[in-house]
Assembly symmetry: C2
Homo-oligomer: 676 residues x 2
């Protein structure tokens, strides 16, 4: 059992003359210059039929011929302005058009067209041209073949169970849903490739992998696989040295075999030399040696190597003041700029640490001038409430995308889109938040992150708020059946949900670790407060709080991390005066009585934000309660039980963090609120 | 593959005329007044044959007739002085005697006789009478039927695998070994009864349980089982209310069925109303209601109910200053004194918390005047280094046993032996430290805790040092084959091992949490330092350290825990002047600059003990290294790798604890040693 996510087509309520006219036009659908045998074409036709038949509660007629009037015309064109995968939606007096240069564009245009109908936004004035900003719009599933999901908070895998692949009707639902928001690449297995997963690219699983790649391809999605860098060693070669001729030949032969069996495969995602994974370092080689060896082996088949930059020393001595994990990505990869094959893409986590609720942008963005790059974000809420807390992450991703790297004044979005370097292998990836729960994402409101990531990766200029509104509308508030938008309290639903979503990340940040310092979580599980949890551990994530001060000096006087940025940013971060305050303790060690720009001391800021954050969590729940009876009961009940937990857990965060600092500093809250 | 523990019989080195004479006498063994069909008799005979044939490298002759001279005479006698399970070993000019009133006594005497030979202590002057101090000398295995062991640090279970019972040659080795040190009762399954283990007392497992009970009975051991208090509910009764007639009848019928199938069963161990286990509290009944209901059901068959007193609220609010977990056992059980059936034994953990490296003795000892009691200790080193650190616990158990409760001036040993109340259902239990590792206990030196617990439970007056020496001798330093004790460097081995063992618990205590406060461990796994690990949690184990002070006031002015003791002890603990300093922070909240009797401040004491403890760990390793080549290589290699880890891990303890307090207090080490 699974929901249809935002594709929950139901009969529309037709509210006025204009909508009646639109419905009338859409009785007929006509394809122009399309090859009926194209696999994506078939999906487009299916989707239109499925959607229109339900939305308008009638049979849609497919007509032929360029002269069709009073119809939706889906037209393959040649129009440079629409680029690759782009589309145009527009109308004439009696017709609507979806045009694109390729079937992928037609598919995205079709999905968007259906959305516009459901959103009530289809008018005669419609005229939209959208070309995806990012060539690669990817989901990374951390699903293990045993069926569990690393950092999965919404059930088990729907790709794997008991070391076998699952292909069923849910697979199709998945492909439709993620394609509808623009996803065109999916890695189905955990980057930590364990056990049977090493053999996804072998005879054992080719048959099912092929089936899956075809289902994906029907929706414009390329199937990728996380590959085990040391795979040759599983086949009797005693090395995985990327310069060893035997290894080179093995991978070359292997890639031929793979593509003989899986011609639609997109390529490999590789986590090497990271957190215990094997890699080229074992043989004294660089990350480029490793990535390029694989890239050359896969190049003849058009495959890509997505190479993760999450390389750092996870066995650090916490007593060591000099080593700084934040530096690691840049230290390992910066000097390799320009040395990667054209079909290698470096996948760089948004920050230098690991998906904290707040981090600076990785200095690799702007540090690499001549290397394919992809931004990796995480919609699986590992550190942001694990889909028990609502935490809408799109506002955070927007901040990351618009960050000015000062490399040619390019933003992160400029770099990963390929606009700056003119490269085509670039884009965005998200560690996915789905599982086999009925609602796919554990918390129903976490669905907004899945929807939002897809939409944002396609169109990085969209606002987080608009995305939230559209998702709320499509998921919860459409005018349906016999009820108008007003009768359904649609505006209240959309406004309330959007308001909650927009407040959720700031609230979570408030009751989490203060001022960008991160990591005050229970080790291993990464849920719940534990201020010293990572303090005396080998993971390189220290706040060094004592009775006087907190934070790490990452300026030149300290670990020197700030110098990895372009001068403008390095200067900004290096000075306590210009460092954005939400990152103050990430870059600086400061006494608790340091006065922030708002006139508050750091300690009072900690108290205030934590009381505020917990109160905001409670407010969000109160606000959500007002939707009881307005939104579907099952959604309400599921989400309400999570809000209830979040409300209590936010108080736990508040009291643990505040009490920790009260006990350490002895400084009372100015407002006399309880500290323990 | 498994070792023979301290029963590793090998050919003895005969060093002098006396030993030659002894060997000569022992050519013949004669049984007097023994029933050859008795099951224990057979074990005695087997053990003698096995031992003597190997030790003397020849065939032993079993002769008959009271007139046998030049022989070992095993004689069942009637001698009130030897009591139940007691024995006498003595010699005449040409003969040795082992005498007892029962076969159990003969078995213990025989094992001890063999030990004396191996220890080189058998002379013509030998004259030993030993009657076990404690009627019940029990091991509690926390083995799950899945095969894993809760708090197991030496491999998986040798009783269970994949929800089936294991009975093989190792079972026999186990029975021989634990019987040889006096154990007469064994609970084979985890007190947290989960899954299949509920059905050990059912048709599913009767056949194997019976076999096991017989193997045990051959060695004087009664098989016990941890029972699921809510078992009737697994059989369709919708209640486990101890006063519900259906429940009473169900258990009554069940016990009949059980004993029809397992006539040798000793009874049940029950963990009720504890850490999520079901119990009488669910139905508003007392612990006595629950225990007595089971006791009446099992009484007709001579069975015992061992009822654990580990009942407390494990969902406490850490903000709550009033609730004190330490009080819970007494609060729940004190008023029930005298209200338990005669075949109920309360099993009381040594301290009021949970097997910390240092705790006061539970006030239930001395608080209960008219109730069967058993002392529960833990040789599984859950909080004491998990059999990676060497931590010989017998000195700690000695302190507990000799604690004066001031109830009729009785020590704990007086109470649990039955001497004070004249009761026969009493004794000692240890949570066991064994698993299916080759050496049974992970760390070879942890074998001394298994050996030592048995010996001590039989004879509570033995010194920890003597026990250590004998174990070291039997396990590592016997004079064997062609080499004398001197040639084997026996003295050096025994002295070194004994010295390490005797220093190990004090060293561990030094680098652990200071002054009796406990609980500074990683939650859940209970290994490694985490000062605040249990500080903001529901487990009721708080140190409340802030920048000024640490500890909890458990006097009348605080939680009132001290008042649970008899007046003399209550007064002693309530005053900072008379409170034993090793427990100071358990009972009192004190500033870091409080001056101890040795003139040191608490903070300096913390620094000093932690530097000392880590240095002592290193010293123990250095000392152990001197045995390389002297003791068996496999023992050396296994233990050395653990000592190496301990040495490093003790430094981690030192630095984490010291740095935590340095950061919190800002007070430097007087000696200027590094703090981080």
């Amino acid at each position: 059992m699974y929901s249809s996510l935002w594709l929950n087509y139901e009969k529309l309520y037709i509210s006025d003359e204009n909508e009646r006219k639109v419905a009338d036009i859409l009785k007929n659908v006509c394809f122009i210059s399309c090859d009926e045998n194209n696999r994506i074409f078939k999906s487009i036709k299916n989707e239109i039929k499925t959607a229109f038949d339900i939305l308008f509660d009638r049979e849609t007629t497919f007509v032929t011929g360029e002269d069709a009037s009073k119809a939706l015309l889906i037209k393959k064109v040649t129009n440079e302005k629409l680029g690759k995968e782009g589309y145009r939606i527009y109308s004439t007096e009696n017709a609507f058009f979806v045009e694109a240069n390729d079937y992928n564009g037609l598919l995205y245009g079709t999905f968007r067209f259906i959305e516009l109908i459901r959103l009530g936004k289809l008018t005669e004035e419609v005229n939209i041209i959208k070309i995806p900003d990012n060539p690669l719009r990817m989901l990374n599933h951390w699903d293990n073949m045993t069926g569990d999901i690393e950092r999965g908070y919404s059930g088990n895998s729907f790709f794997f169970e008991d070391n076998k692949m699952i292909i069923n009707d849910r697979t199709l639902m998945y492909a439709r849903a993620v394609s509808s928001v623009g996803i065109n690449a999916v890695v189905i297995n955990n980057v930590n490739v364990k056990g049977e997963a090493s053999y996804l690219i072998s005879d054992r699983h080719y048959e099912n992998m092929k089936k899956l790649s075809e289902i994906f391809a029907d929706y414009g999605i390329r199937l990728f696989v996380s590959a085990n860098y040391a795979l040759p060693m599983e086949y009797g070669i005693d090395s995985a040295d990327p310069l060893d001729e035997r290894v080179i030949k093995w991978w070359s032969d292997k890639c031929k075999e793979i593509y003989d069996n899986l011609p639609l495969l997109g390529g490999f995602l590789v986590k090497a030399d990271s957190e215990g994974r094997p890699g080229p370092f074992t043989y004294g080689r660089t990350q480029a040696d490793g990535a390029n060896m694989l890239a050359r082996a896969i190049a003849p088949y058009g495959g890509l190597i997505i190479w993760r930059c999450f390389v750092y020393n996870c066995k650090q001595d916490w007593r060591d003041e000099k080593t700084d994990r934040a530096r690691a990505g840049y230290d390992y990869f910066h000097d390799l700029d320009g040395k990667f094959e054209e079909n290698v893409v470096l996948q760089i986590k948004n920050g230098p640490m690991d998906f904290q609720v707040r981090e600076p942008v990785s200095p690799l963005f702007g540090g690499l001038e001549n290397t394919n790059q992809m931004l990796e974000v995480q919609i699986a809420q590992e550190y942001t409430g694990q889909q028990k807390h609502v935490c809408y992450l799109i506002p955070w991703f927007k901040e990351i995308l618009t960050f000015n790297t000062h490399m040619k004044e390019a933003s992160v979005a400029d770099i990963i889109s390929g606009r700056v370097m003119g490269n085509k292998n670039a884009g965005m990836a998200a560690v996915c938040n789905t599982g086999n729960d009925y609602n796919w994402t554990g918390h129903d409101l976490a669905g907004a992150n899945l929807y939002g990531f897809g939409r944002l990766s396609f169109d990085t200029l969209l606002s987080a708020e608009d995305i939230a509104k559209e998702w709320a509308m499509l998921y919860l508030a459409q005018a349906l059946g016999e009820k108008s938008f007003e009768e359904r309290n649609g505006k209240k639903i959309v406004d309330t949900i959007t308001d909650i979503l927009m407040k959720s990340w700031p609230a979570y940040e408030k009751y989490n670790a203060p001022l960008g310092i991160g990591w005050m979580v229970v080790p291993g599980i990464h849920y719940g407060p534990d201020v010293d949890g990572y303090e005396y551990s080998p993971w390189g994530t220290y706040h060094k709080a004592d009775l006087h001060a907190i934070g790490r000096d990452r300026t030149e006087a300290g670990t020197g991390f700030t110098s990895q940025y372009r001068k403008e940013n390095a200067d900004m971060y290096a000075s306590v005066k210009t460092c954005p305050e939400e990152l103050l303790l990430f870059f600086h060690r400061l006494p608790y009585n340091y006065v922030l720009k708002n006139g508050k001391t750091i300690i009072q800021h900690i108290y205030d934000t934590h009381f505020e954050g917990a109160a905001e969590a409670e407010d969000m729940f109160e606000s959500f309660k007002s939707l009881k009876g307005l939104i579907a009961d099952d959604v309400y009940e599921r989400a309400a039980s999570r809000f209830e937990h979040q409300t209590e857990h936010a108080k736990e965060w508040r009291d643990v963090i505040n009490s920790y600092f009260f006990r350490k500093t002895g400084i009372k809250d100015e407002k006399g609120r309880p500290l323990f």
